[in-house]
């Protein structure tokens, strides 16, 4: 793991288009400002891990849920819009 020491208002750059700025420090909390292109999704790590678990569970269980229904999709969602 790369370890950097930064002060308030200092930034780091990741790749060519992601900038992370230290906005403030209060006690053991650090406020970060992040600029990144829209295709880069940003999650708090614990949220990312939980969302990944739930997405995986959703994908793993989708077929079983589908089998409780009487038929599969016959038209695309946009057909009726």
């Amino acid at each position: 793991m790369l370890v950097l020491t930064r002060q308030v208002e200092d930034e780091i750059v990741i790749g060519s288009n992601i900038r992370v700025r230290v906005l403030g420090i209060s006690g053991n909390q650090v406020r970060l400002g992040i600029e990144a292109p829209p295709e880069v999704t940003i999650f708090r790590a614990e949220l990312y891990d939980e969302v990944a678990r739930q997405n995986q569970a959703a994908a793993d269980g989708a077929l079983e849920m589908l089998r409780t229904l009487t038929s599969g999709p016959r038209t695309k969602a946009t057909d009726e819009e």
Binding site: L47, N55, L69, T70, P73, R74, K76
Partner: protein, 156 residues
């Protein structure tokens, strides 16, 4: 025409492709999806990957299963190229899991789609992690269709 594993061949026009701005965690690299529906099973839809034939999610419009949709941040709106006053469609991902084989929905991280541009993203709100697995209403069509695994349906 895209050959899905569970729904057979599906004709998908360019306008129907949903381009996710980032992949759904942890499905790295998969960003192209299409929404399929069976009118008999509204409000549920299938969010089918166009890059992995076996991968799909059961989703439902947020308003249909959980009330008014949470608003996107200004950054999220810009990312989806939403015009002023334009609202995205918001879908929640439905899961079957846990020891009780409970049907739950992820209200913390819905999928926002701008159908005008085809852009979408899974946005994570602020709140308790338990919001990722909120039990679906017992009266939902999924549950009325029988307990999971009890049906004899073979997806066409």
């Amino acid at each position: 025409m895209f050959q899905t594993q569970h729904f057979g061949p599906v004709a998908v026009s360019d306008q129907e492709v949903i381009h996710l701005l980032g992949p759904l965690p942890p499905f790295a690299g998969l960003t192209r999806y299409v929404l399929l529906r069976d009118p008999e099973h509204e409000p549920f839809l299938w969010l089918q990957s166009l890059e992995q034939p076996a991968l799909f999610f059961i989703v439902a419009p947020h308003e249909a299963v959980a009330g008014p949709s949470p608003p996107l941040t200004p950054e999220g709106r810009r990312a989806l190229s939403l015009l002023a006053g334009e609202q995205p469609e918001v879908y929640v991902i439905i899961s079957l899991g846990g020891g009780a084989r409970e049907v739950t929905m992820n209200l913390l991280a819905p999928v926002y789609v701008n159908h005008s541009t085809g852009l979408g993203r899974q946005a994570v709100g602020e709140g308790d992690l338990a919001l990722t697995r909120v039990p679906l209403c017992p009266s939902s069509p999924v549950l009325q269709g029988g307990r999971p695994g009890a049906g004899s349906h073979s997806p066409g």
